[in-house]
Each structure stands twice: as structure tokens, then as C-alpha cells.
Subunit: 285 residues, 2 copies
């Protein structure tokens, strides 16, 4: 069997590496517009060969679309136009509403499985890929009812075999939740990093004074702008709402601090402490 | 020698545990208003005995004031009134301007060393204390010139012996920088946790969909409200400014997303990526 990885970055690369461990006989072919990514993906053994997009589609039983989400939206209709019968395309994108809408009604819609693994790091590119990234993590499949049963079962078998826990959701719900539990925390982190960099021109002070707490909060500010800008654009409505909620709460927090209303800020923080239960659940995963 | 730990929480407890490793002959006495903290501190071997504040002050060569910062401000003048000659008080608080102002002009001001270790976790209380918390971390001493040479040298010797790197700063500078590199990231995290909890009443969805990125960003929202409310109150002016800068940037980010100005959000994120250099420095520490 041949599997193609279209976009051999952190997620596509990690998916390939974890599958390789379980399926040593499968051949992996890679497609990437970046020569550097091609070289690293080959050198790291993520893929066995670099091929053109057209060749990948003709060769592969399963095509894994792991590019930034704007490219997924552009490529997917053409790939579905050309895909041989019985073959499967899955994506790994962080937004689902638009991509499911784009292919809705396509004669080969059933050959597409919309997949989003709840895993990532602040690093990007094939150099950052590792086989364990997806192990024990949750994965969401959207629009299951629009997908061919065999295509779905193939993808699910692979996801289970690498240790992922499968959940199902409609694309609208998915994008709504993701705005809060993922997209917003990236924006809060990018903005925190930039605020501190803007203010603290004396970098020596940041080095000396920042501790692991700052480091943890601002870690996501290292994430790839090229990956995240299209996510925010595609999930504009939900991200804007989540960001609006966040700004409104920060303003209330600021007012409480400005007016010395310690009881109010104590109340906010005490309620926020409840996130501890959620974190315990995430860290157990 | 006897050292008193006044407030046997995360920081006071960790400081005692690290000193105990280096100075097995020193006796540690603890002062705490919480019976539970007293019991845990004894059970964990953080202190050898629980004593009254008055007794601690009479017994100890060095008194370590490790309570929330509002209590530091309240206790310190009285402690300085009563402290025997030649003895030392140091604090471990996260704000320095107000506490230095309060004791400025006190006849025993010279016996006080204003100390702030750049270390912590989102957990609190003596149960969370561990000997390695302060190892290899930076520590700021404020108002060095107002401190007696012997008191200063004793404190510095202890700090160096447990592996801390000492820096000096005036209290105003300290509080200004801390607002950006520590206090702001706590507020951003508390507010993020609360925004997500408010919105995501369906906790199942958070459990399934949140990943390690969210977990990292929101980790500080578990921090103690009782510790942080007085910090925000004491550093009100700087925290308010930092929070205002952060909100202003988030609004610009939101406008860029709302108006589909991808170039602008790309630009913000690319600039924020520069935080990677700072993080590399922190993680090396």
C-alpha cells in the first residue's frame, strides 16, 4: 500500500512517522512545495520518495492532506475531481466548516474524510515531527454521514492503530468549540508575546526576570503565522466572538484592578481556578 | 542557627527545603495561620517546629517572610520594630515598590533585604513545595544600598548556595518589568480560563477538544487568587498599564481578523515569533 502525505510538516510528518512504526510495509510518498521540507522529510525517513501531486493521487490508497487550511480548501475540489475510484483523501486541518462546505455536493465527496487531531506543538515543519505526537490524543471526525463507509473505516483503523481516540462532531460545532479551546489561546499567546516584546526593549530584563510561568503562557507565540493566519480567516466568525468575549473579560478585570475592587478580581480568579479540573483531564489523556 | 519561615507555602517551603539540603544542622521553625499548612509543613519536613510569630522573631538568625504581599506589607514594620539587633528579615514577595516604601525611614530598615526569586508554579501551599524550585533560577534584590552589609551578605550566601543567580534592581524598575513579564501573563491566563469556562458549559467538549497547547497557556489560571489579588493591587499602576497595552493589541488583532486583513495578523504573529529567542534563554536557565 502507498500513502501520500501532502504537506510534510509537523502534523503530516508526525502522522506518517507513527503509521510507519505500525505498518513497516507501507510506502510513504511526500508532496511539498518547499525544497527544504522535501529534503528534511526524506532525510528523517518521514517519506520514502518525493512525488508530484498528480502522481501522489494516482499512486496512493490514502492521501493525507496536511497543508495550511487555505491550501486544503484550494486543493481539495481538484483532488476530488481527479481521485481514482475507491481511494481516500483525509485532511488534518484545524477548521472544518468551510472545507466541508466547499466539497458539499461534489460527486466524489464520499471519498473525503474530514479529520482534526487534537495535537500540536509550537514548532512547525518536518524537523519538528515525531512519532508520538498523536499517541493517546483525541481526534475529531466531521461529517461522518457524508463519507463512504469503506473510506471512513480505513481512516478510523489507521487513527486507532496509532493510539488516537475518535470522536464525531458536525463541522459547525467543531469550529465553534475550537475557537474557544484552541484558536483563542493562540491569539492570547501571540498578543502576550508581542506586548512584552514591544514594551521590554531591554531584552536583558526579560531574560533575567521571566520565569517558567511566562514561558508556558507565551509558548504558543512561537507557532507558525503561515499556518494560523488562514485558520483565523476561515473561522473568522467564531474566533471574533471568542476574542470579543476574552477582551470584554479582560476589560472587567482591568476595571476591578483600577478601582481597587479586590473582591471582584478574587471572584474572577477563584472561578478561573476551576480550569484545574479540565487540565487534570487533558493531562491524563 | 535557626531560620524562621513565616508563611510555609510553595515559595517559603521550597526555600526551606533547598536550604535544608545544604545546611543539615540549621533548625527551621515555621509560622503559619493555617493549621493545615502547619501540619503539612511538619509532615513534609519543611520545618522542624511550628512557633508563634513573636517566638520566631526572637529565635531566628534569619526570618523569611513568605506570605502574600499584602501580609508582608502589614507585618514587616512590626517585625522590624521588634527584631533583635544583628538579625535579618528577608521577604520573597512579587512586588517591591510598596514594601520598600513602607519600611523606608524605619530605624531598623537596614536589617531588611527585599528579595524576589523568579520562580513559581501554578500550585500553592506547602504540599506543592519542592527543593529544586529555586535551583538555577534568577533572583532580584531591591534596595541593596539601604541594607546592612552583613544582612545582605548572609542572604546572598544562602541564595547562591541553593543555586540562584543574583541581580540587583531598584524597586520601581522591578515592579514595572514584573507587570509585563509575570503579572500580565497571570491575568491573561486567568481571563482565558474564565472565558472558556463561561462559554464551554459542555465540559465534555473541552475535555475532548483541548490539547496541550491550551493546557500550557491556561496553566497559570490555577494559581492562588489569595496570592495574586494583593500583587495586582500593590502593582496597580504598572499592571493596569500592561493590561491596557495587551487589550489594545488584542483589539487590533480582532479588527484585522474581522476585516480579513490577513497581512496585518501575519505581521503581528511574525513579530511575536521573536519571543522564541527569549524562551530559549529562559529554558536554558
Amino acid at each position: 500500500m502507498i500513502i501520500s502525505i501532502i504537506g510534510v510538516g509537523l502534523l503530516g510528518g508526525s502522522f506518517a512517522l507513527s503509521l510507519k512504526k505500525k505498518y513497516p510495509l507501507v510506502k510513504f510518498v511526500g508532496v511539498d512545495t518547499s525544497i527544504v521540507n522535501q529534503k528534511i522529510a526524506l532525510a528523517k525517513g518521514i517519506v520514502d520518495e518525493i512525488v508530484s501531486l498528480e502522481d501522489a493521487l494516482q499512486m496512493a490508497e490514502l492521501n493525507v492532506l496536511a497543508t495550511p487550511v487555505d491550501t486544503i480548501g484550494k486543493l481539495l475540489p481538484t483532488l476530488l475531481d481527479q481521485i481514482p475510484e475507491g481511494r481516500t483523501i483525509m485532511d488534518l486541518g484545524s477548521t472544518k466548516e468551510l472545507v466541508c462546505e466547499i466539497v458539499d455536493g461534489h460527486p466524489n465527496r464520499k471519498q473525503f474524510v474530514a479529520v482534526h487531531p487534537m495535537a500540536g506543538t509550537e514548532n512547525s515543519g518536518p524537523g519538528a515531527a515525531f512519532a508520538e505526537l498523536l499517541t493517546d490524543k483525541n481526534v475529531i471526525i466531521c461529517g461522518r454521514d457524508k463519507t463512504d463507509r469503506d473510506c471512513l473505516m480505513l481512516v478510523e483503523a489507521f487513527l486507532r492503530d496509532i493510539g488516537m481516540k475518535i470522536h464525531y462532531m458536525n463541522p459547525q460545532e467543531h469550529d465553534h468549540h475550537l475557537a474557544y479551546v484552541s484558536h483563542l489561546s493562540h491569539i492570547s499567546s501571540f498578543a502576550l508575546g508581542l506586548t512584552v516584546l514591544d514594551k521590554e526593549r531591554d531584552e536583558k530584563a526579560i531574560f533575567d526576570m521571566a520565569s517558567t510561568g511566562f514561558s508556558s503562557t507565551v509558548r504558543l507565540a512561537k507557532s507558525s503565522p503561515q499556518m494560523w493566519a488562514p485558520i483565523f480567516a476561515q473561522n473568522q466568525k467564531n474566533v471574533s466572538k471568542a476574542l470579543g468575549d476574552y477582551i470584554a473579560l479582560l476589560k472587567k478585570f482591568k476595571t476591578a484592578i483600577d478601582q481597587g475592587e479586590t473582591e471582584i478580581s478574587l471572584d474572577y480568579m477563584t472561578k478561573a481556578n476551576d480550569i484545574g479540573r479540565i487540565l487534570a483531564g487533558i493531562e491524563k489523556k
